[in-house]
């Protein structure tokens, strides 16, 4: 069976500095992988390299998404192929209503896949349903994307986008940051609803807390640009207890 995501010996640099130093990771369909690690380990870098953010140079290794060479695709093609990144800091777009953004994104992906665009009434219906499930005030759909949204609203909005776009691989970067416990539960609940046999997820987090709500199948420790330890969900609890100091010294 082809893995959903296969990363082999990935090396990448940003601003002339090598950040990823030979990273290996395999995610199969239906699995949730947590990536934990100290600040500055390269967790966000990994998410940006996978999603094709400009400014990151791949200096070695290869990545396959459903068997296809990820680096042969433009960033928007990767999205259309089902790669979704939930941003740690979602961006604001003044003047563009959330619903407009959702429609533009969904239909851009559909066109790229050679599918028919979703009509406005159908889209509205679908978005309303999802918003309801995620406890999102429908009024938010008319507000400019992320402008003046609270931290919780922004993360909920990321989850809404994820639910609408139905990606194959979700990468969640520090989805828990800036959320109080209630908001965290709501967002985690939304993410859990997206667990599916065909879908894989990479949940990046610094703290174990999120993993009480989104329970992973596999936990990895990323330090100094590579995966240094892999275990079951109990590894997260261990890490919580002993901290990352061990890995930091290892890296140094």
């Amino acid at each position: 069976m082809t893995a959903l995501l296969e990363i082999r010996d990935l090396k990448a640099e940003v601003a002339g500095r090598q950040i990823l130093n030979g990273l290996d990771l395999t995610v199969n369909k239906g699995e949730i992988h947590a990536i934990m690690g100290p600040n500055g380990a390269g967790k966000s870098t990994l998410s940006y390299v996978l999603s094709g953010k400009p400014g990151y140079t791949i200096t070695g290794g290869e990545v396959y998404l459903n068997g296809e060479d990820l680096f042969a695709m433009e960033a928007d093609e990767r999205a259309a192929k089902g790669l979704f990144l939930a941003f740690q800091y979602p961006l604001e777009i003044p003047g563009v209503a959330t619903l407009t953004f959702l429609r533009s994104a969904l239909n851009a992906q559909r066109r790229k896949r050679g599918e028919e665009e979703l009509s406005s009434p159908d889209l509205l219906k679908r978005v309303r349903e999802l918003a309801k499930q995620l406890g999102i005030d429908p009024d938010m759909l008319r507000r400019p994307l992320n402008v003046g949204f609270s931290g919780g609203e922004k993360k909920r909005n990321e989850t809404l986008q994820m639910a609408l776009l139905e990606p194959k691989l979700c990468v969640l970067d520090e989805t828990d940051s800036g959320l109080d416990i209630d908001a965290l539960k709501v967002v985690a609940n939304g993410v859990n609803q997206l667990r599916a046999p065909e879908r894989g997820m990479i949940v990046i987090t610094h703290y174990q807390r999120l993993l009480d709500y989104i329970v992973p199948d596999v936990v990895h420790v990323l330090a100094a640009g590579r995966i240094v330890e892999t275990g079951g969900k109990e590894l997260a609890l261990e890490l919580e207890a002993r901290g990352y100091a061990q890995y930091q010294s290892e890296a140094a």
Binding site: K53, A75, E92, R103, S104, S120
Partner: protein, 493 residues
């Protein structure tokens, strides 16, 4: 909404650097010989069968113009214009007087069809499926120096509204034209306005009598077709007491290597409680990416809020022209009158834009509002130049100005030059300005959701200009939105 999608589709279908309206129509035309002289002024006046006073008016302007110098204060650069190397009059040869639209040269009808402007009323009426509540639009089509067709005249006449080419109005309503022509932009106002006064060829005349709400949108589509020909349009709109009219102009020109001059004058007069809404979607040929060719758009537009509580609102979407020199302004004379200026000015390639407004508060308790959105891309230069002034007697004058500039890439320039002069201590002027670069992070966010780089720019820009786009009549907002994306093509890596 759906329009954003259309914008994107449009962008996808069109090649970079392709100006969609750059074709030339093959019609036989009658042209004045090149050059400018009293004889040419007489020739134009004679071609139009104008009354004697009009000829005198033109000649006076011409003599005045000979003593004037081309303005140099704008932040634009172009080689000297040889005013003797232009044709000042060009008209399609067939049928100067049309009994009905059926007599319009089919080639010209086809041109407007290609431009998406319906000139046959029955087609407009039959329509395809129109969204509910969509209004009909009367069109005056000006081709080079003459108006070739004006639709819905009969229906407008029944409502008491006069909407006709100004050349026709000079013959049919000379007293009205004589009373108002030059009353807002005097013959000696500025170099280009004076030139226009001497040689203007056609444009629209609108008169909305007291208490009448014009039953439909009025619009004029200007098309320059001939080469080496200047277009000197003249538009005059008068709104009687308590009346309302919404007017839109659109303009396109073929793609040519030499620059062409368009020097228009538009005058608006609003009486007590009258309101004029004037919208422009300017899409003259901008020249190619290296800056070869394109229209010099040197335009004087001014509205006179003559009556108490009158209101004039300018909305412009400027995407075309090699050079734009344009400051639609309001003279706020009537007590409690108000002026508005909403502008989207986009420059790409080597385009140069120097545009803005003047709000002159003369009467008491007058208010004005300026919202300007400048977008510069490529190697273009985009300047907002504005003046807000309060006369000594303008007690309680208020202005709010917001100027936002967005830069795409790092080889373009955005400049803001606001002037303020308050001679009355009670005047309150507020000014806000921002300049920002289009954010790479925001673009990446969009791209990560599946939009192409170009679609992402289109989306962000449409958001940036939304406040102004909303001011356009609905029918045109969609068109303008498309145009914005098209004109920004090739602006990103």
């Amino acid at each position: 909404m759906a329009a954003v999608q259309e914008t994107i589709d449009q962008v996808r279908r069109i090649d970079v650097e392709q100006y969609k309206y750059g074709f030339v129509t093959d019609v036989e035309s009658e042209k004045a010989p090149k050059g400018l002289s009293e004889d040419i002024v007489r020739y134009i006046s004679a071609r139009k069968n104008e009354p004697e006073w009009m000829l005198e008016w033109r000649l006076e302007a011409f003599r005045r113009w000979q003593t004037m110098r081309e303005p140099e204060w704008a932040r634009v650069n172009y080689p000297p214009i040889d005013y003797q190397d232009l044709h000042y009059y060009s008209a399609p040869r067939k049928k100067p007087e049309l009994a009905s639209l059926d007599e319009v040269d089919p080639e010209i009808l086809k041109t407007y069809e290609k431009l998406g402007i319906p000139l046959r009323e029955q087609e407009i009426l039959a329509g395809v499926v129109r969204p509910e509540g969509e209004r009909r639009i009367a069109v005056d089509a000006v081709f080079d120096s003459v108006s070739v067709a004006t639709t819905f005249q009969a229906e407008l006449k029944a409502a008491g509204v006069i909407f006709m080419p100004i050349s026709e109005a000079l013959r049919e309503h000379p007293e009205l034209v004589r009373k108002y022509l030059g009353s807002v932009v005097p013959v000696s106002d500025n170099y280009f306005a004076t030139l226009n006064s001497a040689v203007f060829s056609d444009g629209s005349f609108v008169y909305v009598p007291e208490g009448v709400r014009c039953p439909m949108e009025l619009s004029t589509y200007f098309r320059i077709n001939e080469k080496n020909t200047g277009q000197f349009e003249r538009t005059l709109i008068i709104a009687g007491k308590g009346s309302y009219v919404s007017y839109l102009e659109g303009c396109t020109a073929p793609q040519r290597d030499e620059n062409q001059l368009h020097a228009a004058v538009v005058e608006l007069v609003a009486m007590d409680d009258a309101e004029i809404k004037y919208s422009t979607v300017q899409n003259w040929y901008p020249g190619n990416a290296e800056g070869v060719g394109g229209i010099y758009n040197f335009v004087t537009k001014r509205g006179d809020c003559r009556g108490a509580r009158s209101k004039i609102s300018w909305t412009q979407v400027e995407t075309g022209s090699a050079i734009t020199w344009k400051y639609p302004s309001c003279l706020l004379r009537g007590e409690g009158s108000s002026g508005e200026f909403y502008s989207i000015a986009i420059s790409n390639g080597r385009q140069q834009v120097d545009s803005g407004t003047k709000m002159m508060h003369i009467g008491r308790n007058t208010t004005s509002r300026i919202v300007s959105k400048g977008i510069s891309a490529g190697r273009s230069q985009n300047t907002y130049r504005g003046l807000v002034s309060a006369h000594r007697k303008a007690k309680g004058a208020r202005n709010f100005t917001a100027c936002d500039s967005l830069l795409i890439g790092d080889q373009c320039g955005a400049h803001t030059v606001p002037y303020m002069e308050a001679k009355n201590p009670t005047a309150v002027f507020e000014h806000e300005a921002t300049t920002s670069k289009i954010s790479e992070d925001v673009l990446f966010y969009c791209v990560q959701r599946g939009l192409s780089q170009e679609e992402a720019v289109g989306l962000v820009v449409n958001g940036f200009v939304k406040d102004v786009l909303q001011q356009l009549p609905m029918e045109f907002a969609v068109e303008a939105q498309k145009l914005i994306s098209i004109s920004l093509e090739g602006s990103v890596g």
